[in-house]
Amino acid sequence: MPRPTFAMYWAASCGGCEISLLNVGELILDVDAAFDVVFWPCVADFKYQDVEGYPDGYIDLCLFNGAIRNSENEELAHLLRRKSKTLVAFGSCACEGCAPGLANLTTNAATIRTVYTDSLTTDESRTQAPRPVTQVPEGEIRIPVLYETVRTLDQVVPVDYIIPGCPPEARQIAAVLRAVLTGMPLPPPGGTIIGAGNVALCEECPLAKNVKQITRFYRPYEIVPEPGICLLEQGLVCMGPATRSGCGALCPQVGMRCEGCYGPLDGQDQGARMLAAVASVVAAGGAHLDEHAQAEEIAAVMDTLVDPAGTFYRFSLAHSLLRRARVADNSA
């Protein structure tokens, strides 16, 4: 009997998801033994034509990481959907948009200007912004077209499973792989989240919560948090209340606020939830003040929270309720 086939692909991503898969340790040898790798650009030289040549549904398990940022990403999403029996959105970029999705707060023109024109460089000759089509003596060179709006994998093609995290925790990946390898039944597919918890991160965070109220917010470099005490109550914007559990609260335990990489809980908007959670720890607005003074005091505390949109939606903007910012007249 032929071995089941495996593929892993990176769209708009950083490569961390591939590393996290290798982090499962020696289990990767079992994966290698059990599966026939048929496409995995990060570790083996396959061409897109190879995949095109496979019959539909040929790939048994395809882990897809990365957001849909350009025309190549989209093409591969469609191709791999067609060729895969089980397509998994693997990691925050594929699930929620993650860091690439933050481009949705601005325009491509602004992004390109920042990267190619305004940024300091030691090589002044390198100011040519990417062009989809370039004429060279040998002919025409085409590169993928950058999209205005970054999308998640499930906004482009139907996805069977979603494994969140930036990157997903090795322990969680291992649990899923073990289930696949031993033929244990997975939950029914259809955008189903696996390899994560289903309560808020705060519930698995061991730090003590005293429902303290705060009078200003701190950026991580401004404060050395007291150990053992909830970071949000110390003025750090810890995303625990609006983030899905599953990582074991890795960051808060070492004094680093959760930035929200496991994404929102089912049916929630991570940014909106975090906004509500943050508002409830703000102490300002004492009843002794008049309406106006109360509002001013609250506004002064909120002003210490730099970049609310980028903070609350660091990982989930592309999948959020508003999804992207309105910039002049968006052409989508």
């Binding site: 909106a272 506004a299 609310p308 508003l322």
Partner: protein, 157 residues
């Protein structure tokens, strides 16, 4: 005036004061812009930021949250909680390119039908000046959602 843009305002009104204010405005036959779609909530603190974002995405041109004056909340300080969220929400919406006038918080006691009506009129004028929001269509590039059959025929804005 038939072709004048009629904004859609989703109004979240507190059961104990502003909803009654709206009621009073009706029974007192105060004339004001018919632009608000009232939704009764038990307290302004019940208005999750998600409700506001959803309203804007689903076609509202603005959202009005109306509750009891500070110190008069039925649940002691639900309205202050709403105020805290509102101030942060506005800062965040600004980053999304949503103008301040599109989301407003006003206080209107049960007896203040006139004040509530004025708030709706004022907001209607401000939204008219800003023009339609149409998030799905203009921002997300999705198919237009017809608000009035006529609008689609004449091509919207």
């Amino acid at each position: 005036m038939e072709n004048e843009f009629q904004p859609i305002i989703v109004g979240f009104l507190c059961n104990w004061c502003s909803y009654r204010a709206a009621d009073l405005a009706g029974t007192a036959r105060i004339r004001y812009a018919p632009t608000m779609r009232p939704i009764r909530v038990m307290c302004t603190a019940r208005v999750e930021p998600e409700f506001v974002l959803k309203a804007l995405r689903e076609g509202a041109d603005g959202v009005l949250i109306a509750g009891c004056h500070p110190g008069e909340c039925h649940y002691v300080e639900g309205n202050i909680k709403a105020l805290r969220r509102f101030i942060l929400l506005k800062a965040m919406l600004r980053q999304f390119g949503v103008e301040d006038e599109r989301v407003q918080l006003v206080w209107a006691a049960a007896s203040e039908g006139k004040q509530l009506a004025e708030a709706v009129d004022r907001m209607t004028e401000q939204l008219r000046a800003l023009g339609p929001l149409r998030w799905r269509q203009r921002v997300l590039g999705e198919q237009p959602v017809a608000r009035h059959a006529r609008e689609v025929e004449v091509g919207g804005d």
